[in-house]
Each structure stands twice: as C-alpha cells, then as structure tokens.
C-alpha cells in the first residue's frame, strides 16, 4: 500500500516537473488573451494555430525541410564510404579522423560558428542557404560518420570475404553485400541527421541571418517580439521531431550500433 502511494506520488511529481513546462506551451498556444495578474488566460482560442497556415509560418518550415533534406543527402554520400573505410580498413591516422569528427562537438559551439560566419562573409556564403547547409553538414557529419562506422563494424566481414572468394569485385561486394545489410543503419543515420538539421538553431541564427529563417529562428524572432503565442505554437511543432526520435531511437539505435561507438 505504501509502495503504491510512493509510486503515485513519484509519478505525479515527475509528471508536473517534466510535463508542466511542455503543457504550458500548449496553454500559451491557445491563449488569445492573457494579461499580467491573471494566473490563467482570459480567453482561449485557435487563432494562433490558424496563423500556422499563413506564409510566414509555412515558409520557414518549408525552407527548414529543404535544408534538412539536402544536408541529409550530402552527409550520407560522404559518410557511407567514409564509415565503410573507417570500419574495414586500417590506415595511419584512422583514430585521428574519427576524433576530428568529434572535435566540433566537444567545445562550446558558438565561438566556432562566429568564426565560421566571419569566414563565410569573405566567401559570400553568409546569409545564404548554402552557408546554412554547410554549417549543418559539419554537425550532421558527426552523427553520420560515427553511426555509419558502427553500422559497418556490426556487419560480419566474413560475408564480404565470401563474395570476394566467389570472384565479386570490391565495388560489387560493397554494393550488393555490405550496403543492403547496412540499410537499417543508413535509415537511422539519415533520421538523426535530418532531425538534427531541422532543429538546429545556433548555427542557423549566426550564418543564416538575416535572410535564412528556419523554424527555430522564426520562433526566436517571435519570442523577441513578445509574440509568445506564435513562439509557443512553433515550439510545439519543433518538438515533433524529438518525439519521433524518442520512439525511433529505441527501435533502431539502442543496442547493437551504440555498442560499437568509439572503438577506435
């Protein structure tokens, strides 16, 4: 009995702490009128959700999806061969290559983005979509290279050796043995990169300003202008990818791939 009460209490407290802030986003997104002293909105309505259908919301969404698709495609094109090489070949500096892909993540990111922006100004990339794609690619490649290396490591190399023994070329072995076996891993890697790019804020804010607006930047601008409802609607939309990842991570990524991470 006491155990049941303890569990119920723990669940109630955890629900309040974790879901409270998220629920208040929902309340704010529905608040048509909420003036200061009142602890609760005076009028609820869907006015701000309807604004979602307007161009100033849909355009950042569309742009963000396009950027994320391009970033994902580029990251995979680079990471699949690189991951395969890192998993199968031993060449001098292999560990350095793997670590180099972690470096941008190990330190505060903002100063890196600031210097990148300065360089990008010189090359005419600041404030352009290509600039934002490039900066997302730096972060996206970290996920892609490390997952792809782990994925190829998880595939038994005996299968490829068998194909070679039967006379298949290296390319053919890769295309018809390794790549199909790696397909679920490729999907997981693509998902990670896509969602990372969709939610990326800091790099987009610095490199993209003032012309490239994706949803996180749109949300920041709205909240700076005290349009808290608009920002809350956007925040709820931005949480969707995370929810997808929360479910997908359990499915694809949890066990076998993560085990191989970082075996340099």
């Amino acid at each position: 009995m006491t155990r049941l009460i303890a569990r119920a209490a723990a669940l109630a407290i955890a629900t309040f702490i974790v879901l409270g802030p998220l629920a208040s986003l929902a309340v704010w997104s529905l608040a048509e009128r909420w003036t200061a002293p009142s602890p609760w909105p005076q009028r609820f309505g869907l006015k701000y959700w309807n604004r979602m259908l307007s161009a100033d919301f849909l355009e950042p969404l569309r742009l963000g999806v396009v950027i994320a698709l391009v970033v994902t495609a580029l990251a995979l094109v680079l990471a699949i061969p690189l991951g395969y090489a890192l998993a199968r070949l031993s060449f001098p500096g292999r560990a350095v290559v793997l670590l180099a892909f972690l470096m941008p993540q190990a330190f505060p990111q903002l100063p890196v983005f600031a210097s990148a922006t300065r360089e990008f100004y010189r090359w005419g990339l600041a404030g352009t979509v290509s600039g934002v794609v490039l900066v997302h690619l730096v972060g996206g490649l970290v996920f892609a290279v490390w997952t792809m290396t782990a994925v190829f490591r998880a595939i038994a190399s005996e299968l490829e050796e068998a194909a070679w023994n039967l006379g298949a070329s290296t390319t053919r072995t890769f295309l018809s043995i390794a790549l199909p076996l790696a397909a679920p891993g490729v999907a997981a890697s693509a998902l990670l990169v896509f969602l990372y790019s969709l939610d990326e804020f800091t790099g987009t804010l610095l490199i993209g300003a003032p012309f490239v607006t994706t949803l996180p930047v749109y949300m920041y601008t709205a909240s700076q202008g005290y349009e808290l409802q608009i920002a809350s609607v956007t925040a709820l939309v931005l949480m969707l990818p995370g929810a997808v990842l929360l479910l997908a991570l359990d499915r694809f990524l949890k066990s076998e791939y993560l085990v191989f991470f970082g075996q340099l």
């Binding site: 569990r7 723990a10 669940l11 955890a14 629900t15 702490i17 974790v18 879901l19 409270g20 802030p21 998220l22 208040s24 986003l25 704010w28 909420w34 200061a36 009142s38 602890p39 609760w40 972690l102 993540q105 190990a106 330190f107 505060p108 990111q109 903002l110 100063p111 600031a114 210097s115 922006t117 300065r118 972060g139 996920f143 490390w146 990670l192 969602l195 990372y196 939610d199 804020f201 800091t202 610095l206 300003a209 996180p216 949300m219 920041y220 909240s223 920002a231 809350s232 925040a235 931005l238 949480m239 990818p241 995370g242 990842l245 929360l246 991570l249 993560l258 991470f261 970082g262 340099l264």
Partner: protein, 218 residues
C-alpha cells in the same frame, strides 16, 4: 574589457554550478529509487527532456515560469532551473546506466542489513559509481557553461550575462569579432578544464557514446 567581463565569467560559473547541483539533487535520489525498484513511467518521463531541443526548453521554461513568478525567467535562478530541466534527461541516462552496473548482490547485502532505498543510494550506489558520477557531473557542468540557446530564449535582463550571450552580442550586434573571439577562448579554457577530467576518466568508447547521446538533439 576584462573588468567588464570578469563578472560574467563568475556569473556563468555560478549559474552552471547551481544548475548542475540542481540536476544531481533531483537525479541522484530518483535514479537510486528507480534502481532499487524499477518503475517504467517515471523513467520514461525523466528521459523526455533529452529529446526537447534547447531553444524549445528555453521558451517553455520562460512561459512556464513567467505567469507565476514574473521576472524569475530571465534571472540567474530561472536560467539555472531551465538548464537543470534540460540536463535531467542526460543525467538520468548516465546515472541509471552507472547504477544498473552495480551488482545486484551488493544491493541485496545492504537490504539484508535493513537499508532502505535512501541508504542504499547514499551508501552503496553513489560510492560504487563515483567515477561515472564525476564524469557525468563534469559533462553536464561544461555543457551548461557553453549554453547559449536557453539563456537567449529566457530573455536578457540587465546585469550579468552568460558568457556565450556576451560572445553573441559582441559579434552579432557590435561586429566586434576580436572581443568575441577572446571571450570564446575564455569559454574554451573553462571547458578544457572540465574536459581534462573527462578524458582522464573515460575510455574513448564511453566518451563517444555519451557525446552522441548528449548531442542527439541540440
């Protein structure tokens, strides 16, 4: 210039220390309890913040706190609260992993001597997973030092600022790249101090796993 920003350096250290303390003050007893008696729903809830983007956390905590406690959101307490909320997920992930690595026989021995969950956590789980705990603390502390989106979204009152906010305004508003870069280096040095401990304790493999989990949705 240094006189101007020295205060912000200490402010940043203070906010990160408060945030990390808060995170662990919640995560240690809860994870100890979850280790002693598994309870899926609470464990699931604890991991939710891991999957909420930083910008969204900043805004959510701002709108959560402002109607009840106006002025709290932009203050150092508000920022520390938001940082603690976001890092609860990571702390839970790391602590549960460490606590679950403690062999069941130790727990049973302690229980036979009449230890309750609280004593089990304090006298068995925490001492036995001290190295992983230290590493998690360093990781979370340095991530809080480098935080940018959360303080930015919480609003910028007067007075002291987080270091990364200074970097942003120096560079973005004033175009003063040199000062921004210098402040960035200060940030690096602070992270480096933390990273030294981190590298000394962790094998590369563990390091990569935790890094990836940490960065999974920033």
């Amino acid at each position: 210039m240094w006189r101007l920003y020295l205060r912000d350096v200490f402010y940043t250290l203070g906010v990160a220390a408060t945030g990390a303390t808060l995170t662990f003050a919640v995560a240690i007893p809860v994870c100890g309890w979850l280790r002693a008696r598994a309870f899926g729903p609470v464990e699931f809830l604890l991991k939710v913040p891991l999957f909420v983007p930083f910008v969204v956390v900043g805004h959510a905590l701002r709108v959560f706190l402002s109607p009840w406690a106006p002025g709290l959101a932009g203050s150092w307490t508000g920022i520390a609260l938001a940082l603690a909320w976001k890092h609860l997920g990571l702390a839970a992930l790391l602590l549960l992993g460490a606590f679950r690595a403690v062999d069941e026989s130790h727990l049973e021995a302690a229980r036979n001597f009449g230890a309750g969950t609280a004593r089990l956590t304090k006298d068995v789980l925490v001492p036995m997973s001290a190295p992983s705990l230290a590493v998690s603390a360093v990781l979370i502390f340095s991530s809080m030092l480098a935080s940018f989106s959360i303080p930015l979204m919480m609003g910028r009152g007067g007075g002291a600022q987080m270091l990364m906010i200074d970097v942003y305004y120096r560079f973005g508003q004033h175009g003063d790249f040199e000062t921004a870069a210098a402040l960035g280096v200060v940030g690096y040095l602070m992270a480096m101090g933390a990273a030294l401990v981190y590298l000394k304790r962790l094998t590369p493999r563990e390091a990569a796993v935790t890094q990836l989990k940490r960065r999974s949705l920033e």
